[in-house]
């Protein structure tokens, strides 16, 4: 209970602070953000876009970890955990794509321009979609769990190619791309301490939110499966 109140306060603070704190030329008070050239007011979406993209990857990682566990122990609860994590990952993936596209419209002039990171989030979206398509095509519970686990492990090994290699070789618009001659990642160089504080608080808040949602989600899946089995057995 205390966690929920803490999380509520944290997320409320981040939402208010992220949207309402002013961006000024020379920040003096603790609640003022610096003006980053080229981003201006658009910079504020960083508090919501980056955590969703981060959670997309975390959710995929958790899904793969529990898929791997399922393959090892053949415990259907692990499959429920992997599935719940993939569902949340899909939601955050869509959110990251949409917030990213909105940001791209105002920062780069177009909703979509096949920047390497846009390509990789699109690939993640496709992987999640394919995973759900595969799951819905199989009737038998154990077979579904095994095959979707295998597929998510298989898909996970391609993720390093998207996240670490593609942005290095393709020309891109995100910071840290192959042709980026600027100061590099925005986080390290151009944010002041108050902006960094809100940014990392936001990452932490969203991560806790994810784990909480995940817990509720997989518990409900496990209970539903138990109830179904109970009903069938009479």
């Amino acid at each position: 209970m205390i966690w929920k109140i803490f999380l509520f306060l944290l997320i409320s603070f981040i939402s208010v602070a992220g949207i309402a704190f002013p961006i000024v030329e020379n920040p003096e008070s603790w609640y003022e953000f610096p003006n980053i050239p080229g981003l201006e007011e658009n910079a504020k979406i960083i508090f919501f876009h980056v955590p969703t993209a981060w959670l997309t990857v975390i959710a995929f990682l958790m899904s793969t970890v529990f898929s791997f566990k399922y393959l090892k122990n053949k415990n259907l609860d692990d499959d429920a955990k992997a599935y719940a994590s993939a569902q949340l990952g899909m939601i955050f993936c869509i959110l990251a794509t949409v917030t990213g596209a909105v940001w791209a419209k105002f920062a780069w002039g177009a909703f979509w321009s096949w920047d390497p990171r846009q390509t990789s989030i699109f690939a993640l979206l496709l992987i999640y979609g394919a995973l759900f398509a595969l799951r819905s095509s199989i009737e038998s519970e154990e077979k579904r769990a095994t095959l979707s686990s295998v597929y998510s492990v298989l898909a996970f090994v391609t993720v390093p190619f998207f996240i670490f290699i593609m942005p290095r070789i393709m020309k891109g618009l995100h910071p840290g791309s192959a042709d980026d001659t600027g100061a590099g990642p925005v986080v390290n160089f151009q944010m002041n301490s108050s902006m960094q504080l809100i940014f990392f608080l936001s990452l932490i808040g969203f991560t806790i939110l994810y784990f909480w949602m995940w817990q509720i989600s997989y518990k409900s899946i496990i209970i539903r499966d138990k109830l179904n089995k109970h009903l069938i057995r009479g």
């Binding site: 390509t119 496709l126 095509s137 095959l147 492990v153 190619f161 593609m166 070789i169």
Partner: protein, 221 residues
């Protein structure tokens, strides 16, 4: 184990020669796909970049139409249980992989020859780079499509699911291979393309390792 894998490959080879199902349908598919592109292009002159990209479009869809056969045919004939009895999973995978690699090589060589003959802008300036990229790209394509074919066969051979599952897995390979094909058309030297070549080689190694590790779980139900 290698002898058994080769025996399995021979079995597939002979049963393929008997019906010629895969070869015929693949050959027809290549012709249909390329003529669709030719009709779509019409009198326009294709740029080099577009020709290199369309080359991989045809390769991807041809692979998706033909490579699932390797495992689906075993499930259809009901022979997968017998295979489980007589051979270890890794042996089965090696045999099927060998068959698919050879199929991919034949198919892609035909596509490359047809492209060179039919598209004026598809002129390879750096032939050794093209061959190198072609070989490692084909191996990666065969490995990924074979392991996905195994999943599809166990999922009840849903035809439309195959490209859906394969595309995200193949995307890093396809993106890099398109780039390499463009380099070969441009006449870039191998030295300049070595980072892209390294990506494709590492993709091949990663997928091969993971496939051998995961195939046991798919094969044994």
């Amino acid at each position: 184990m290698i002898a058994k894998a080769i025996a399995l490959f021979k079995k597939d080879y002979h049963s393929e020669l008997r019906t010629r199902y895969a070869i015929n349908s693949l050959a027809m598919f290549i012709i249909v796909a390329i003529s669709v592109i030719l009709f779509a292009v019409g009198q326009e002159k294709l740029s080099e970049g577009l020709a290199g990209g369309l080359f991989w479009v045809v390769i991807f869809f041809t692979a998706m139409s033909g490579l699932a056969r390797a495992f689906v045919s075993e499930e259809e004939r009901g022979t997968s249980l017998t295979l489980q009895l007589i051979a270890a999973p890794s042996t089965v995978f090696s045999g099927k992989l060998l068959f698919n690699i050879i199929l991919v090589f034949c198919m892609n060589t035909v596509i490359a020859l047809l492209y060179a003959a039919l598209f004026e802008s598809f002129v390879i300036k750096n032939f050794s780079l093209f061959v190198f990229a072609f070989v490692i790209g084909n191996i990666g394509l065969a490995v990924s499509s074979t392991i996905i074919a195994a999943i599809i066969a166990k999922a009840g051979a849903k035809g439309t699911l195959y490209p859906v599952l394969s595309f995200p897995i193949l995307l890093p390979l396809i993106l890099t291979s398109v780039q390499l094909t463009l380099f070969a058309l441009d006449g870039t030297s191998i030295e300049d393309a070595k980072f892209e070549l390294a990506i494709v080689v590492s993709y091949d190694v990663v997928m091969l390792t993971v496939s051998y590790m995961l195939f046991d779980f798919i094969w044994k139900d």
